[in-house]
Assembly symmetry: C2
Homo-oligomer: 79 residues x 2
DNA sequence: TCAATATATACGACTAATCGTATAAATCCT
DNA sequence: AGGATTTATACGATTAGTCGTATATATTGA
């Protein structure tokens, strides 16, 4: 899943949390942060710190991967 | 490339910048930030903001992807 | 419906990220 | 070696993220 802004990251976090049947409070505890912060981030409020994001993703068994930007859907040079 | 801390991110950024033959100053300009910040982040100083990271990666034609954590190298249950 | 639980919002305090600017230090090139 | 370019460091100012705590609002379940 490619992430290009805070809202998209929030959506991914929420989805992953729910699929693991975790409450915000539980996820917050696993990631050593406040429930209010989880709520904020899931709703795309502000721009979290890399450390914060990494802690949450780790608690959800997710990783950040850096990948090349995808080309356009079809390549005009192919015509 | 999987990223689990600021240092690893910094290394990826530097590598990508050099492979594109960009100077820190040029990358900073493309990403609308200071050269000093690029330097700091490449050296893994502190924990950048998602917005900052996204701007740099965009300037380097890179994306963030969220992926499941890899399993162990070989799975003990296979024995 | 009502209580219990979960999520969102509030607010001041504190910390950390980023800025602008300048310069020191390192690297490159001839 | 020496000048030019690039990168690292400095420092105070400003902005923004996170905290602790508390509470309001929403959702769930009996």
């Amino acid at each position: 899943m490619i992430i290009r802004n805070s809202k998209e990251l929030g959506a991914v976090i929420r989805k992953a949390r729910l699929s693991k049947k975790l409450r915000q409070t539980e996820l917050a505890r696993k990631a050593s942060m406040r429930q209010a912060l989880i709520s904020d981030l899931e709703n795309g409020t502000g721009s979290a710190t890399l450390d914060t994001i990494l802690k949450i993703l780790a608690a959800l068994d997710l990783d950040i991967s850096i990948v090349p930007r995808k080309k356009a859907e079809f390549d005009p040079t192919e015509y």
